[in-house]
């Protein structure tokens, strides 16, 4: 099994977002592997351990993303690839990200590609399915169970709370939903080993990509924080009276009931 995992470096979920000069401030923020990508990495490792093969984690980003790739290697991935666009591109969108990944993967012998179903920063969930389309392979999103038998694949996926059971075949791209597995923490020996595992760095030139090929289709023109909510009302008095008042307020003041 030749398995690839798409990972993204994202803000830690604990972080408050600060906007200044029209940009999200990154100084001092903690970064993590996108949580949904952790499920993808874990599943890739389990499938390799059961079926043999190799797990390669791939990311697009800058030099900083090396830390998240090392973490994935420490979890148990075999190799890592950083497609460094820092010097070449000011902006990326889902179109350009998928294009770059497809150029990297198009002549690889791919059996299975895993990714998170969405990144918790941009939240578009597009790159996986776009990539599968560019590679001409099938994809299944938001999966919660994956069974592979030869080239036959049985999947359970989450569709808005219901479960869909389906069958398909390799080669395949899947995106992970919460509940797929319990991602492991890197062990100390794992962290030691990860330092020696191969981490390849590529630039657009190495993939024969011209900057014009990856010009973005959509552009962010403004970033802002949601308006601060005015302080709410904590009711007081006897509990039963509070409940009556609340229902009354929801009915007559807020008009939502």
């Amino acid at each position: 099994m030749n398995i690839y995992v798409l990972v993204k470096r994202t803000f830690d979920t604990e972080e408050k977002i600060v906007v200044s000069g029209g940009k999200i401030q990154e100084d001092g923020a903690e970064f993590i592997i996108n949580p949904y990508d952790e499920y993808a990495i874990e599943e890739a490792i389990q499938k390799r351990d059961a079926l043999g093969g190799k797990v390669t984690v791939v990311t697009i980003g800058g030099e900083d993303a090396e830390k998240q790739l090392r973490t994935a290697l420490a979890m148990g991935a075999d190799e890592a690839v950083l497609i460094n666009t820092e010097d070449d591109l000011d902006e990326l969108d889902q179109y350009s990200s998928a294009y770059i990944l497809a150029e990297y993967l198009k002549d690889k012998e791919v059996d299975l590609i895993l990714a998170g179903n969405v990144a918790i920063d941009g939240g578009s969930g597009q790159v996986g399915p776009r990539l599968a389309d560019l590679l001409g392979i099938n994809y299944v999103t938001t999966i919660t169970s994956l069974e592979i038998d030869g080239t036959n694949v049985k999947i359970v996926r989450d569709i808005e709370g219901d479960s869909e059971v389906l069958e398909t075949t390799l080669p395949l791209l899947v995106t992970a939903q919460q509940g797929l597995n319990e991602p492991r923490y890197p062990s100390l020996p794992g962290i030691m080993k990860a330092k020696k595992k191969p981490l390849e760095e590529l630039e657009l030139d190495d993939l024969d990509i011209d900057e014009d090929d990856v010009e973005v289709k959509v552009e962010t023109v403004e970033i802002y924080l949601p308006p601060q909510k005015a302080a709410g009302r904590v009711l007081d008095g006897e509990l039963q009276a509070q409940v009556k008042e609340l229902v009354n307020l929801l009915h007559t003041e807020a008009k939502v009931i």
């Binding site: 977002i17 889902q94 399915p129 023109v221």
Partner: protein
Amino acid sequence: MSKKVLVLGEVREGSLRNVSFEAIAAAKQIADGGEIVGVLIGDAVAGVANELVAYGADRVVTVEHPHLKSYTSDGYSQAFMAVVGEESPEAIVFGHTALGKDLSPKIASKLQSGLVSDVTEIEGAGDSALFIRPIYSGKAFEKVKVKDGIVFVTIRPNNIAPLTKDESRSGGVSSLAVDITNLRTIIKEVVRKSAEGVDLSEAKVVVAGGRGVKSEEGFEPLKELANVLGGAVGASRGACDAEYCDYSLQIGQTGKVVTPDLYIAAGISGAIQHLAGMSNSKVIVAINKDPEANIFKVADYGIVGDLFEVVPMLIEEFKALKANA
């Protein structure tokens, strides 16, 4: 410049989903006077075509085929791309639903277009339209402009108001014959787990429980309250991790992001990750024993008290209100 817009109508269990009417309203703004063409895909969907017209579509194209009974990205993309080939639209709107999220990137890839996902608001119209969408699960928002190619957006349910239904509107309904072949995915079954058919992301009312619910049984009063209000039940990560409920109910930065009219948080402390998933709800009610709980900072109304006392009282009061209405 006005634009011709395709809107995918989503049919579930024989009925159009509300988000499809919201998508028509979004399309109206993008069209800026241009034509709005509803698209229906399935094995027998023509019956709801007139409803799309009543909500603002100028006409409807249906693609019906036995292989389109269940959604697959292969089948639906073949059908939708055939309509695109016939109609040459300048814009496309889908709902940001499980189906819309799965299908839209594939269509965008085939069209080599951008795709603005999960739009909650549209500013301006036609060529100058700007699309507002949450990032970092609602901790911030971005305004996005389409630079090049087809304007393709998915809209988040419950955020863009549908146009007023007008049964007297009329529009043509035509069918397009498409050969649907080579489906690489076979759907075996769908196991319904969501309660009483109210989908969390589309619910007008969400009643969510946290660690304070204490057990799987503890969710029962919340379910009853949701039922009385015609809403859906959600949960914090804490409640899911403690196995009081299924992960499919989780609301937060990991999990679902919801924006109902009314969000009732019971026994939820209000971790920043949870707030990201619900703080843009229109009205938030917090019920918590701890007066210092973070959830009160985003709540419009708060009751400091034991949810197992408060929720049953709420159920009775809402029942009384409904009975008198």
